[in-house]
């Protein structure tokens, strides 16, 4: 017989996890409430804003729309999993130098969408960059700085 609590095993940010979780929570709740990683933001919770974007098996998804038991056997990357302790990921550097971070609420999701794009396409066009981040809303920057930052990585520009 199936049960209300589910045991899931998954990799998150390079680390193996095994956890007993309620069957009806979202991946966002698993990340923030059960594992205490609060870099992934909670915005609309209905798949409209992109603040909760994480990578599931390398693909950007809205953690607020994924039923948590689905992560069993899979790999999740959150914002805590990019870059290293004390050293920013090149995308994070580029976001800072290009003024792509204002209030910062959209930033973790944006960075993961950008990372997923660059992982499969190291030389995206501006249109491809715009498309890749179109599921991530930013209320502060007007997107130009964000596209510029991602474009800078693409062209290997270092500042």
């Amino acid at each position: 017989m199936p049960v209300q609590k589910i045991r899931v095993r998954f990799r998150m940010n390079g680390q193996e996890h095994e956890q007993e979780i309620p069957s009806n929570i979202t991946l966002l709740e698993l990340i923030r409430d059960e594992l205490g990683l609060t870099g992934t933001k909670e915005g609309c919770e209905i798949g409209e804003c992109g603040a909760c974007t994480v990578l599931l098996d390398g693909k950007p998804v809205y953690a607020c729309l994924i039923l948590a038991p689905k992560v069993d056997g899979r790999e999740v990357i959150t914002i805590e999993g990019i870059g290293e302790e004390g050293k920013l990921h090149p995308l994070q550097e580029a976001f800072l130098t290009h003024g792509a971070v204002q209030c910062g609420f959209c930033t973790p999701g944006m960075l993961l969408s950008a990372k997923a794009l660059l992982d499969k396409n190291s030389h995206p066009s501006r249109e491809e960059i715009e498309e890749a981040i179109s599921g991530n809303l930013c209320r502060c920057t007007g997107y130009l700085q964000i596209v510029n930052a991602i474009e800078a990585i693409r062209s290997g520009e270092k500042e």
Binding site: M1, P2, V3, Q4, I6, S23, N24, T26, E45, I46, G47, G50, T53, L56, K59, P60, V61, Y62, C64, L65, I66, L67, P69, K70, D72, S113, E131, A132, S134, G135
Partner: protein
């Protein structure tokens, strides 16, 4: 209050169908969950068991068999967009899938979920309707195949039984001599306008339109072809005047099928304009 349920993740089609037969109405299928999560969050899911079919290997494929393309219901919108057999053999479906939500939604949302959820605004539906898609429904010990238009009873209601799964979607390839268009009205949240969309396929023979197929989403009680306009166009040498007439006929047929409603005032010109643009595109008539 959020819905509460047990969760099970069968690893084969046989196992999935057995669970669905045993539980009947007490079970509910979840694929990507992009539609179902809303129900769960709002506490509206009544089932006691959620059957996650995403690990059933038999339901995930894109195959070309002779003149036919067949898809597993777990094919995501992102997979449709990046599939050569789809972009070559059914570009109208590729464009429809590309218009769905955002990257994040397309990575998770499946064509099976899109069909079964039966939202009038579902983007892949009009494309599948003009492709003449057949949908295979399987249950333990049997299967049936229905044209996609026979699945629907009303918005959000289908003939699919709780014991059944959509296991395959098939259609003939439409590459040689066919052109296609899919256009969706830009979504304007503030106005809460239904997300209207139109799919058109046309086959030309010399200068004449041998066959034209039109389906418009969010405009009829259930998905269908706009047969009056199709008949008007069939066999003609397309012109701006005929396209105008056909677009009006579609708007007229929409009103006949759904009756006059409060939304008819804005929908009528919207549908007419949308169909006109799509016809101009497939029939290569510029105004």
């Amino acid at each position: 209050m959020r819905s509460e349920f047990s969760y099970i993740c069968p690893k084969s089609l046989k196992e999935a169908l057995e669970i669905l037969t045993d539980y009947g109405k007490r079970a509910r299928v979840i694929a990507g969950g992009t539609d179902l999560m809303t129900e769960i969050r709002e506490g509206k899911l009544e089932a006691e068991l959620l059957v996650d079919i995403t690990r059933v290997p038999e339901l995930r494929f894109i195959r070309e068999e002779g003149n036919q393309t067949s898809l597993g219901p777990l094919t995501t919108h992102a997979e449709l967009v990046s599939s050569m057999p789809i972009m070559r053999g059914a570009p109208v479906l590729g464009r429809a899938a590309h218009s769905v939500g955002s990257v994040q939604i397309r990575n998770i949302g499946t064509i099976g979920g899109n069909i079964v959820n039966a939202s009038p605004a579902a983007d892949t539906t009009p494309a599948l309707v003009v492709l003449g898609a057949q949908v295979v429904l399987e249950r333990r010990g049997g299967e049936r195949t229905l044209p996609i238009t026979d699945l629907y009873l009303a918005p959000y209601r289908t003939v699919i039984k709780p014991q059944e799964l959509v296991t395959k979607i098939t259609f003939d390839k439409v590459s040689n001599g066919w052109s296609s268009s899919f256009i969706k009205l830009a979504r304007r949240k503030a106005l809460a306008i239904a997300r209207m969309n139109v799919a058109v396929l046309a086959k030309m023979e010399g200068k004449r339109a041998k066959e034209v197929r039109i389906s418009v989403g969010s405009s009829t009680p259930t998905p269908c072809r706009m047969e009056k306009a199709e008949a008007l166009l069939k066999g003609t040498v397309p012109s701006a005047a005929i396209i105008e007439e056909a677009s009006q006929a579609v708007a007229q047929e929409m009103v006949e099928r759904s009756g006059v409603r409060s939304s008819t005032g804005y929908k009528r010109p919207a549908v007419q304009g949308l169909v006109k643009r799509a016809l101009q595109e497939v029939l290569a008539i510029n105004q």
